[in-house]
Symmetry: C2
């Protein structure tokens, strides 16, 4: 590495607004690229790309999303509150353009499915549409909403009640191999990555050296 | 894709415990691989790999981590509560073995720095050590802790007060390019990935078609 940039709080504060957003949105590292599908009580659908999905627990299977109510995600949040249901669909390499376009500030009357050409997949008895083109799809039930007083964002915690994955993308341990599923990583606000497995590690134990599988 | 596996809540509940953990920990998609450095009041250090880092806001720059107090992360959480400080260091391809090994359940008296051979980097006036081998490093100040009643986990929200990145890894928009920084993605509990940029997209607008940069 040729040189290092070292910023303190005041340097971060002094960055131009868009460059600060670009830096801080990218500084966590790779993020999962997911499309969140919802609908209002009239079955008017909504679709939003989100990169804030985080694992909360496996038993019960709980995942969280962070919402900023002042941007394009607000329609999604309102639909989740009203219906209690949403879907999470992995972005794969064939739908990146459409997935990214869902971030545009469409009016509430416009479905991002129709606007981007992605197809709605409805299942009987469920209140939110899946993305027909996705191969990894989760049906979620809202379990809790936690307002984060520190900056007005909201954490939505949901339970996985339906889970579809390509059979061939499940490895010997029972895990999803996102490379086989062609899932995509995102960095910052605009960059999409394909990933290649370089190491798989055995369960770490204090009295054993690290071991590659 | 040859076939799809479709699990409902009861199917997930019926999975063998380790296979359920493997599946649900991997189902969100790619996650950032980070090492969290802390110390107690006697400067006894601690280091833990974590994949739950999530962006909360850019102004002020806030990031969150999810802790499960019943596992190896509890020493880290205790140190953060006591000192108010922690560091976040990107895992790169040269330190994956050591980074993974920090997940072993070492006793509280053992520093994962010493146990794994990673070096402590201390800065004057700061209460937590960085990883000397890392090139993307953040100094964090604890801002809030949110207990998640739903399953006993804790969300720790911190503000970035120091940020180091290789100068050459900052792109034209001011964002970190994690590929140039050699940052690593993780899937599930044991799989480490190198990622390649395949598309960068222009800011999405409702009245414009998606455009690749």
């Amino acid at each position: 590495m040729r040189g290092s940039m070292h910023l303190r709080s005041s340097d971060i504060e002094d960055l131009e607004r868009r460059r600060r957003a670009a830096l801080i949105n990218s500084i966590t590292g790779y993020k999962p690229a997911n499309l969140v599908g919802t609908a209002n009580n009239e079955r008017q659908s909504n679709l939003a790309i989100m990169s804030s999905l985080v694992h909360i627990g496996s038993h019960p299977p709980l995942l969280a999303l962070i919402f900023r109510p002042d941007n394009a995600e607000r329609h999604t949040l309102n639909n989740i509150r009203d219906s209690g249901s949403y879907t999470i669909n992995h972005v794969h390499s064939g739908i990146i353009d459409a997935a990214h376009q869902t971030a545009a500030r469409y009016p509430g009357s416009v479905s991002e499915f129709a606007a981007t050409g992605l197809s709605e997949l409805w299942r009987d008895g469920e209140a939110a549409p899946y993305v027909g083109e996705a191969t990894v799809r989760m049906g979620m039930q809202l379990r809790d909403e936690v307002p984060l007083a520190i900056n007005g964002t909201h954490m939505v915690i949901g339970e996985i009640v339906s889970l579809e994955v390509p059979s061939e993308a499940i490895n010997d341990a029972g895990a999803l191999d996102p490379q086989i599923a062609d899932s995509i990583a995102i960095s910052g606000l605009d960059s999409y990555y394909r990933c290649n497995l370089i190491q798989r590690m055995a369960y770490a134990k204090p009295d054993e050296a690290p071991r590659r599988l």
